[in-house]
Amino acid sequence: MLIFEKSHEGRYAVLLPALDVPEMDLDVEDHLVRKASPELPEVSELQVVRHYTELSRKNYAVDVGFYPLGSCTMKYNPKVNDALAELEHFSYLHPYQCEEDIQGALELMYHLQRFLCEITGMDAFSLQPAAGAHGELTGMLIIRKYHDIHGNAEKKKILVPDSAHGTNPASATMAGFEVVEIKSGPDGLVDIEDFKKHLDNEVAGIMLTNPNTLGLFEKEVDKIVELVHEVGGLAYYDGANLNAIMGITKPGDMGFDIVHLNLHKTFSTPHGMGGPGSGPVGVKDFLKNYLPVPVIEKRDDGNYTLEYDLKHSIGKVRSFYGNFTVLVRAYAYIVSMGAEGLKKVSQVAVLNANYLRRKLSERFKVAYDGPCKHEFVLDNYEVWKKWGVKTLDMAKRLLDLGFHAPTIYFPLIVKEAMMIEPTETETKEDLDRFVEAMFQILDEAEHNPELLKSAPKTTPVSRLDEVKASRHPIVRWKREEEEI
């Protein structure tokens, strides 16, 4: 039931003291006075508690089980970090308190900027962007502004590999660029020839993810970056896959000019059903003044300050100072792990992925050869052709077997793709169990395909009709509406 359907006229909870100043009538023009109250639910406190407790129980989550959603880095989110972020001393700060009052917060953010610089090999970071895509937009606007300032009017194209995350081309477009797709080669890496074909004066920059979304390390990354630089373009690094390489290699050293990170991935802040996350952007020295404001600086007197005065700043990309309580968690994560810990995180993330890859390759087709990094992609085209079972069906069956499904149908360049990222916090036993489940599904695909096509069965609802839902979208409840 929807919370609205539990509503009963006149029911309420009491949470506030009675008004202690004189009652005031609304002193506005009549037509501005609300006539019909918004139809919010009228329910008891217990009803609210039960309702949302039930809904939370209907969700799969990292705290429930293995969540090998490729590209999303669904790892353990340490409980202590949540507790720290929720402390009054962090969550009850007003953005317009004077700096003196929020020195602890600023100090934290300052160090986080420094840590991220160290981890990525960049020179300056802004913590403003609220998500990865937001960081990308920020980066693209920096590239645009840079070319504007340098009078490079011809630079209007952004190169994006076809394996890139959808946010990359979308962000480039939002920043007013024309997106040029670069093909991947048969090895899953950027097809250098195709890349070179598009390399001309109009290239404002390139967006690369490394390891890329196939989980493969772009070996020639520094060369690609160099070539882009040669035509006067800038190189942007999508850091969503940083979990594979911390302490091993740095985007800064690969030559990238701009980087965004997904703190909600690599630095383990909880995904919250899709957010809030945080997507800080780092740059090399020469772009420092382009960052969105404010950035946090340390003054000579040892105090921390919000610096708004960056010469070429693209401006503000969101209000205030970024997703602060997410930053708190990421900071807590980094200081918990330290250098050794972070390196181990990456190493084991890669170990786990390769272990799974190796095991699954016994019976599945892995899309690309060679050791992977934090994730890899299966190509289930054969399964479909042979037994008429789609990757979607296999994914749904996994739900029945107690696992979240991997990312499916992405990247688009692999047919019937299944993209698997185990992360470092999963045990070997759980990986083994997942392999077993996958093999069982393969057997079922051969011998009992109907089982897969009608999966899932043990979930709160069985397979849902998405097509219908989008054809005649019902996106809000209405009182008159009967259950469909």
């Binding site: 918004p38 949302y52 969550s91 007003h94 929020i102 520094d222 919250g272 899709g274 209000s319």
Partner: protein, 453 residues
């Protein structure tokens, strides 16, 4: 150093053997030597207890709102967040889930999104809403982009009285695609958008895609949306930036023909958090839904005909439409939207109204008292919700310090954003301000002129 990796050395060895490599290094063979880095220069890792100790030290350097009587809002408000909101929204079934790509095991999330969308529609009077943007500022910016897409026009008007930081974000967002954002001044007397200026702007130059206007605006002043809509040509979109809480008392923008309603959800049960994360509200008319950015949950059925929820109209989104998507937004702020959903459920129809009513009454009570203080004058005559501007005859920065010394987080000096309001400050009250606090504040305001500053 914390230990979240479960592997023992033995296990690692076993796994390496299974993979057929001799060490983990070998798995990085594709990373060229010249790209390898040294050990990161970071502080030593901390166990949980040491981490807490470290944080308590940091925390001590902050002065949270509980140390103050708070009369500052300006986009982030000190409302009461009921315990139920805190505890339920932190349930791990919500907190540690991701975007509901697998609907059958994400019915909790999807139903929350659906309920949230409904509540936003109810508040705003609009047909459809998405299930959150990053914040109010980016929501406004996306609205301006959407208006341009829908009208294919690259000139946008924005009241200079919307939140200055939102304006800045709009400028940033629109710079890429080359939308020209022009300010429309406020009427110096009423604090509402200056209708004459607005008319002029419309009559001269390119036809604008939209006008962005606050409801209430940054000064707390309630715009007359009916009048604004009348002034705007039919095909110029009205984008309204709301304080969602005010809509419990005010006729919703939808009633006046708003095309897009946006705003920041922080007043709906989200702690101030130094400004974030909260979430952005985004609602529009049904006919524009396919141009709306962001995720949308919709109702459907499962194989047995049972009601269920899925993400709908995903072809608008970046993961499908890529560079032609309506927006690049991927991760949004669902968990904050959940907090608002729980908050609105808990407060309910009468409770939300009550909060708004108390905010309103307290602000007006304070305004009356403030009006009587010598040297302080309310600046605008327009009706207001829970914030109002006043000019003071002492230096606002000094006033601020003086009040702080009395444990008051006082009204925000406005000079930073409005040079012409260099002598003015923005007062705010919420249901959390008691009458005693108000009386104490007024007393301090009376005393400040004689105080040694």
């Amino acid at each position: 150093m914390a230990q979240y990796v479960p592997h023992t050395d033995d296990e690692i060895a076993k796994m390496l053997e299974e993979i057929g490599v001799k060490d983990i290094e070998e798995l990085y063979q594709d990373v060229p030597d010249h790209l390898r880095c040294e050990k990161l220069d970071l502080p030593e890792g901390l166990d949980e207890l040491s981490l807490k100790r470290h944080f308590f030290n940091l925390a001590r350097k902050n002065h949270p709102l509980e140390e103050y009587m708070v009369f500052r809002g300006a986009g982030v408000y000190n409302h009461y967040v009921p315990e139920v909101v805190k505890q339920l929204s932190m349930r791990s079934g919500f907190l540690t889930a991701y975007t509901p790509y697998q609907a059958e095991v994400s019915q909790g999330t999807l139903q929350v999104m659906f309920e949230f969308q409904t509540m936003v529609c109810e508040l705003t009077g609009m047909d459809v809403a998405n299930s959150s943007m990053y914040d109010g500022a980016s929501a406004v910016a996306e609205a301006v982009l959407m208006a341009s897409r829908l009208t294919d026009r690259y000139r946008a008007l924005a009241a200079s009285s919307i939140h200055p930081e939102y304006l800045q974000v709009v400028q940033t967002y629109t710079s890429g695609v080359g939308i020209n954002v022009e300010m429309v001044a406020y009427d110096k007397e009423s604090g509402r958008v200056d209708i004459r200026t607005l008319r002029e702007k419309i009559d001269t130059g390119e036809k604008p895609s939209c006008l962005v206007v606050g409801y209430p605006n940054f000064f707390g002043v309630i715009e007359d949306l009916m009048l604004v809509r009348e002034v705007l040509p039919k095909d110029v979109m009205m984008v309204v930036v709301v304080n969602p809480l005010a809509l419990a008392l005010l006729e919703p923008p939808g009633s006046f023909g708003a095309d897009i309603v946006v705003g920041d959800g922080q007043p709906l049960g989200i702690p101030p958090r130094l400004g974030g994360p909260s979430f952005g509200i985004f609602a529009t008319r049904e006919r524009y839904v396919r141009q709306m950015p962001g995720r949308i949950a919709g109702m459907t059925q499962d194989l047995e005909g049972k009601r269920g929820f899925v993400m709908v109209l995903q072809t608008r989104e970046q993961h499908i439409r890529r560079h032609r998507a309506t927006s690049n937004i991927c991760s949004n702020h669902t968990q904050a939207a959940l907090m608002a959903t729980i908050y609105m459920s808990l407060m309910g129809k009468s409770g939300l109204r009550e909060v708004a009513r108390q905010c309103y009454a307290k602000a007006h009570y304070l305004a009356e008292k403030v009006d009587r203080v010598e040297g302080i004058n309310r600046r605008f005559s327009g009706p207001f919700f829970n914030e109002f501007v006043a000019s003071v005859d002492v230096n606002p920065a000094h006033l601020d310090e003086y009040l702080k010394a009395h444990k008051i987080l006082g009204p925000l000096p406005l000079s930073r954003y409005y040079p012409e309001l260099v002598d003015s400050v923005l007062f705010c009250t919420t249901e959390l301000n008691t009458v005693d606090e108000i009386t104490f504040l007024v007393g301090r305001l009376e005393a400040v002129r004689n105080a040694d500053l």
